[in-house]
């Protein structure tokens, strides 16, 4: 599914460098990225999603080298094949729960927005227990409910790869379990590859594999999700 070779990334301003000689993730596999802050976990997720481009090397996603794609094609690949879940949920405050879930279909014509999408969105919301909240706005939801909305948004386009950046970082223990259950159930059911950045070592036993970033070379700067 994912094959990373001789990857090197550094910011134009310098100070941070990430080097990964080789990393493979099989289709349907669930992998946890762990490591100290600044070790490049989020940066690697961004590289795998095509949000940032490597300075050198290749990231092969299902036979496509993301690094070689144009900006437009990387965006299309991201919206059709990759689901992203963030620690801060990143829901749009002015959209209802249902509108937030179907958001990917409104912002890129690569996805076809038809009646089946609406049906699937409602079904997903019912599966994660937010069917009664569809008309409400994010500010009226609990943290756990917001992350469930964000997960629904990520999986609605039926991606083959789910990238989650500390998806449980802002949740209480009860919601943490629920959100992970939803992610794992979905990944298992649909044979979706799941790559998650986490600092929570209690959760690691649920993953097929754990990748510790200590084994990769990273320098200086903290890992931040703000890179583009």
């Amino acid at each position: 599914m994912i094959a990373i070779r001789e990857l090197e990334f550094r910011y134009a301003t310098g100070g941070f460098r990430l080097e990964i000689p080789q990393l493979d993730v099989a289709a349907g596999e669930s992998v946890a990225f762990i490591g100290p802050s600044g070790s490049g976990k989020t940066t690697l997720l961004n590289l795998m999603a095509g949000i940032v481009s490597p300075s050198r090397g290749s990231i092969d996603l299902g036979g496509v080298n993301i690094a070689a794609l144009s900006d437009r094609h990387r965006r299309e690949l991201r919206i059709t094949k990759i689901g992203l879940v963030f620690q801060e949920f990143e829901l749009l405050e002015y959209l209802s729960v249902l509108d937030n879930i179907v958001l990917p279909y409104r912002i890129n014509a690569a996805l076809v927005f038809d009646a089946a999408v609406w049906q699937r969105a409602r079904q997903l919301a019912a599966e994660v227990g937010i069917a009664d909240e569809l008309k409400r706005y994010p500010r009226h939801l609990s943290q756990g409910e917001r992350q469930r909305v964000a997960v629904c948004r990520a999986v609605l386009p039926q991606p083959s790869l789910l990238l989650a950046d500390e998806p449980t970082g802002n949740l209480d223990p009860a919601n943490k379990g629920k959100v992970l259950d939803i992610l794992f159930d979905y990944a298992r059911r649909t044979q979706t590859t799941l790559v998650t950045v986490t600092h929570d070592h209690d959760l690691l036993e649920r993953f097929d594999r754990v990748v510790d970033f200590k084994e990769f070379q990273a320098f200086d700067e903290p890992d931040t999700g703000d890179v583009q």
Binding site: E76, R78, L92, P104, N108
Partner: protein, 393 residues
């Protein structure tokens, strides 16, 4: 595009107060200078047209503008009156046909215009329903009066007292509506026309009362000479002119002393006009003659000067508002930085993300411009009515 507009709509609806303020600001930026120009142009057209159609007006000395506005638009401020002899003076000059105008009273705010039938011929007014006024106590009403008061031929209207505290003042007179005038799209639509004698009766110059020679009125008679009967206040005065009591109505004093507010003079030709105007050049004359077109042109010159200042002010204000609105948009974009980032990270296309952000501005500008256009059209449509109301205030 539909999806982008939907997102823009949701954003604007969610931040409805901000949106409302922005749309109001944009609407005013567009509307104020344009609407003002339309209104001023319409005023100019209206005032000029009516003034051009009224060759000469004679009235008591005083403000020519007040005299013209009252004679042409029946303003609520009654100008000084002059004697009816001024009407006779024009008529006897044989230089122009004369139309007396006496506007002092009203029916629920609608001016009562005491005049002659020549006025309606002069203005080209046609009867739409009923017939022309024929006898004392009858009136014909303008189309807007008929609609506003809900009256038609066979109904009646009552003149309003000039002041609620004026107990000893003029009596209200009940007048029969003989007819309704056709819509003329002018101040005549808002007026009630009566014969000038009927207007004098409202003024108390003429009246009708119990026949004091009859035995039934003996209680009210204080003294009786050969030619003069003095009665007290118990003698009943009529406040409606009917078939039965019409004969009892009579006037006191000399006709030439009765009041009129203006005389419209329609000269036979340019020469007659010039000659007639020449007859009022004496500074001792109690009356003045004015050319309404000239008076209105002077007024319009002042209005246009004021308009220039107002438009300049509005443009400056508009620029300041536009700068503020631009600042709001810029700050809004900054506040939406995180949203833009999210849309980019989940795979939103570059065009879609840009359009989502731009659509907020475009929709606000479009709605503001649309509202301004609607208001401008409304001004064009109803500006004339507004101008008439302003003139009558």
């Amino acid at each position: 595009m539909k999806q982008i507009l939907y997102l823009a709509w949701r954003y604007l609806a969610y931040h409805r107060f901000k949106t409302l303020i922005l749309i109001t600001a944009i609407t005013l930026i567009f509307y104020v200078p344009v609407g003002l120009r339309v209104l001023v142009n319409q005023s100019a057209e209206q005032l000029t047209a009516r003034a051009v159609g009224t060759p000469l007006v004679i009235g008591a000395k005083g403000s020519p503008l007040e005299l013209v506005l009252n004679t042409l638009y029946f303003g609520s401020d009654v100008p000084a009156t002059m004697h009816y002899t001024q009407f006779e003076r024009v008529a006897e000059s044989e230089l122009a046909s004369a139309i007396p105008v006496y506007t002092r009273f009203n029916v629920q705010g609608h001016p009562i215009v005491g005049t002659t039938l020549e006025y309606q011929s002069f203005r080209g007014l046609e009867i739409a329903a009923g017939r022309q006024m024929a006898v004392l106590g009858e009136c014909v009403v303008g189309s807007r009066v008929a609609a506003a008061l809900g009256v038609g031929p066979g109904d009646s209207v009552i003149s309003s007292p000039e002041s609620v505290f004026d107990i000893a003042g003029v009596y209200p007179l009940k007048m029969n509506v003989a007819g309704v005038l056709d819509f003329a799209d002018g101040p005549d639509d808002d007026a009630i026309f009566v014969d000038i004698k009927t207007a004098w009766i409202i003024a108390g110059i003429g009246h009708g009362h119990q026949d004091l020679a009859q035995p039934g009125a003996v209680a009210g008679v204080l003294s009786r000479d050969d030619n003069e009967i003095v009665a007290n206040a118990s003698v009943m005065q009529y406040n409606e002119i009917t078939e039965e009591n019409r004969g009892s109505f009579h006037f006191h004093g000399e006709l030439s002393d009765y009041p009129v507010t203006a005389v419209i003079a329609v000269p036979q030709d340019q020469r007659s006009s010039a000659l007639l105007q020449g007859r009022y050049q004496n500074t001792d004359d109690v009356a003045q003659i004015v050319v309404p077109e000239g008076v209105m042109n002077e007024l319009l010159a002042t209005v246009l000067t004021v308009q220039r200042f107002v438009v300049a002010g509005a443009v400056l204000l508009g620029l300041a508002t536009l700068a503020s609105a631009s600042l709001v948009f810029a700050l809004s974009l900054r506040l939406r930085r995180r949203e833009i980032d999210t849309l980019f990270r989940i795979g939103g296309s570059r065009a879609a993300v840009a359009m989502v952000m731009a659509s907020e501005i475009v929709v606000v500008l479009a709605v503001g411009a649309l509202l301004a256009a609607t208001l401008t059209l409304a001004t064009r449509e109803f500006g004339a009515v507004l101008i008439r109301l302003l003139i009558r205030m």
